[in-house]
Amino acid sequence: MKFGVVVFPGSNCDHDCYHVVKEVLKQPVEFIWHKETKLDNFDCLIIPGGFSYGDYLRCGAIARFSPIMEEVIKFANKGGLVIGICNGFQVLLEAGLLPGAMLRNKNLHFICKFVELKVENTDTPFSSEYKKGQIIRIPVAHNEGNYYIDEKGLAELKKNNQIVFRYVENPNGALDDIAGIVNKERNVLGMMPHPERSSEIELTSKDGFPIFESIRKWLKEHGKS
């Protein structure tokens, strides 16, 4: 199995993701520069956090039109696993791979702290290693994490069980305490909290690691060794 970490100008969690996949998950991983126009046999793509293109215009809006994103969209539409973390989540929203949009945090603060999340759905390739209802501790670091979707969209998310993580105490005003969602097909996950910053006990929490482990297990079960 092979993981890819997409790198935009301004990405800054790319090395953290790479590190966790290579050194903790112990799986092959490569960086993918945003100007690439081909994907070389990847099984899972990680769109990392950071401030792609300086967050100009809207978070993720410019990165969404990077050359590599055409390929990422094709990969996702063919069922490939894609996980967007923080700014990566914003990019996936702008690209239309996930529904909704991000607004500025309700209190206008950049929020950087550990938060508690409730695992709402374990029936995805990204969350099977958790228990339903489990409370996990993962840090957030964002200015635009106030998830928004219209009423009809929210009803869809609930009906299809697409909400994977909810904040126990909502830090940013996100609608319905939403911290992470999957698409209807469940092969694309977006989440504001940073599992790559909580995958080793040296960082005081390993609660993010089961996400990577879930992906590894899912890929193995689907014939990627």
Partner: protein
């Protein structure tokens, strides 16, 4: 050459924490008659087009494709000779 003056604002149905904070600040200065404050973006683009209609069509496409996010934002613009 044409010039487009583009305004992008959050939809009225979307809460605008920035606007609300500015409203509170204005109220603390004694401006008590304010009903609402909405913040937004202003973008000025100069472009070549064969006529105003073509320029407007181009600007509209830019707004839809990149400059605004239709889930949370509305846009409006005026095109004039530059």
């Amino acid at each position: 050459m044409f010039e487009a003056a583009i305004k992008i604002t959050l939809k009225k149905t979307v809460a605008d924490p920035q606007g609300l904070t500015v409203k509170h600040a204005l109220e603390s200065l004694g401006f008590n008659s304010i009903a609402n404050v909405w913040m937004g973006k202003f973008i000025r683009i100069t472009l070549n087009a064969k006529d105003k209609t073509e320029a407007e069509a181009k600007v509209s496409e830019m707004c839809k494709k990149l400059l605004s996010n239709p889930i949370i934002e509305d846009f409006s613009f005026e095109v004039s000779n530059a």
